[in-house]
């Protein structure tokens, strides 16, 4: 007996310490970055004293401020469009039977599987061709030609955000028993009323999760944006990339810290909202699934290899973990 116990403790210890190392691996580089954003030394990785100068310098950096505003503008517009289009797509794919459904599904999920770099160069080729023709048609010369900028970035962002929203909302739809909607219709509700009064309230956590995912993806996207942005309109990641390629300045550490803080806030805020929404609509049968943290990324669960099993039981929570950003 005692031998077996001892045998079981050693692996546990190994697993625990390996996990601690993985967490350290995740957080040490970021923690060092945050710490050194308060370092008063202009260059190098030697601690010279505490300062918040680099943060106040950010406020005077016009390029950075413009890029931040561009990023927010693009993310808000793209998210708004993508949430509507993605929810519609998920309804079509999950609540309708039609010819070519599988083919449509392949197209819808193309942004999820296509390598970003290929999408980037393909869009560059596409936009330069179409804008070239457009400028010829409008008779615009080199001076007043329409170039790539905010509109082209938004077109690209809406496309991949829509796919991810569709993915996330579809996961929610799968947990919603269609007989609820059928019941509403049997009781005389039309399609529109059924959607607003039955379907949408039930899939709201999924829609919110999708919106948050779309917003984050748009805000963070680098590779695709890199190819479809013009000299006129850069986004925050593009601007930061440009700056950190030019110099290693503590300002870059400061802006990186702010980006990290913002995404952490966004995530925890979203977790709070989602668990509030889930609690409000769920009976007191308790916590939905292992964690509200998980519920924020419903897309993932949906890709869960085992999702089929959990989907059969409607009250269970498929909104676990298992996939991710492109």
């Amino acid at each position: 007996m005692s031998r077996r116990r001892r045998g079981a403790r050693a692996p546990k210890l190994a697993i625990g310490s390996a996990s601690a190392l993985v967490y350290a691996f995740f957080y040490v580089p970021v923690a060092v970055l945050v710490l050194f954003s308060f370092n008063s030394a202009r260059t190098g990785g030697r601690w010279a004293g505490f300062t918040t100068d680099w943060y106040s310098a950010l406020a005077d950096n016009d390029r950075l401020l413009t890029a931040t505003w561009n990023s927010l503008f693009i993310a808000i517009i793209s998210t708004a469009i993508a949430v509507v289009l993605g929810t519609m797509l998920s309804l079509a794919l999950d609540r309708r039977v039609f010819r070519g459904r599988i083919a449509a599904q392949q197209v819808v999920y193309l942004p999820v599987i296509a390598p970003e770099i290929v999408t980037g160069v393909a869009l560059l080729a596409f936009f330069s061709l179409t804008l070239g023709h457009l400028n010829d048609m409008l008779g615009r010369g080199a001076q007043d030609a329409i170039r790539m900028g905010r509109p082209t970035i938004i077109i690209a962002h809406v496309a991949f955000c829509t796919a991810f929203v569709a993915l996330v909302v579809r996961a929610s739809l799968r947990t919603l028993d269609p007989s609820l909607e059928e019941a509403a219709q049997d009781l005389g509700a039309n399609g529109w009323t059924t959607f607003w009064r039955v379907t949408l309230p039930s899939i709201m956590p999924g829609v919110l999760g999708g919106a948050l995912l779309a917003f984050t993806l748009s805000l963070d996207n680098f590779v695709i944006t890199f190819f479809v942005s013009g000299p006129g309109a850069t986004t925050l990641p593009i601007e930061v990339f440009g700056q950190l390629r030019r110099t290693i300045s503590p300002e870059v550490n400061a802006i990186s810290t702010l980006i990290f803080g913002a995404s952490t806030l966004l995530l925890t805020g979203a977790l709070g909202i989602q668990s509030a929404v889930s609690k409000r609509r769920s009976r007191p049968d308790g916590d939905r699934g292992p964690s509200s943290a998980a519920a924020v990324r419903p897309d993932i669960g949906h890709r869960n290899p085992d999702a089929g099993a959990s989907q059969k039981s409607y009250p269970s929570n498929p909104q676990l973990i298992g996939g991710g950003k492109p």
Partner: protein, 360 residues
Amino acid sequence: MAEHTAPSTSPGPSSTRAPARRRVAPLLAPGLLWISVAYVVPGLLVVVYSFLTPKLGGGVVWEATLDSWDQIVAKGRRSTAGWGTVGAAVLRGAAAAAAVSVPAVAAARYLGRRISASLALAALLGALVAVNHLAAEYNNYTAVFARSVVWSALATIICIGLALPLAVFISSRRSPVTKNALLIAVMIPFWTSMLVRTYAIRFLFANTGPLNNLLETLGLDRIVFLNTRFAVILGLVYTALPFMILPLYAAAERVDRAQMEAARDLGARPPQVFADVFLPMVKPGLIVGGVMVFVLSVSQYLVPTLLGGGKTNMIANLLELQFGEAFNWPLGAAIAALFSVVTLVSLYATVGRRDQEQFL
């Protein structure tokens, strides 16, 4: 396409007969159209561009040519490529297979399993090493492809090794609060911008960065880490690891603890329980996570750019070069087309049709 193969696990189409008759076009068309304009049309355009003539300063001249494909496949071949190269590749492959087969067979023996799987694994690795060597010696383009694939495969293996204990650790916590906290701690890096995370690694390991200063203070030698292949592989692991942990955790969460208890009670040693009971049950999560890590890594642009410093190019750098400074759009288009085909084929080959329905 066979739309009737939708698995009955989803309560979707098959069970909603009444609303199914309603029109689908208004719901489907806007989103489908938008994605087609941004993905399908440019994708086809890339294929067309790969057969055209490059224009100075970017863009294409609409004259058909096979030059770009010729350049990737045949031209630019290194003079060293010959029978000697083939011999070296075979030798390397055999050596790798032999080296791997020893521990693999020993592990199979220890776990009381047949050794055929271990031998197959060794043969596969040997073949990979041989092909990699040939590709690297053949020409610059195949070398970049091979390098990207091998580094991404390495990153995937390391990610599996790191994610397994973590998934076991989180899923075996009893308190939901602890579980939540541990999970959020994985999700925060998952949500943080890829650029910031890559930059964090670059800053920490820079030649005059915090780590090297610490080493110097301790009286140790500085290390040159940036712009090496190790930095790129570490960066790939760092950025992709959450994508491995999360699906693996989801699978581990579903593992039936009673079965593992039973195996233990019947006298199985911990490694045996792990290999014969736990591993088969989390295999789907392992596959999904592995595919995601690989696909993400093989097309990484930020990591090789910021940590590899241009010396150690991956496919994305090659693409950017052709569409940027080199201004050879047709060649870039050919590389992009070939790369997409390779990625999509390997994706569909690994994730079967049934899995794919759930994967997507």
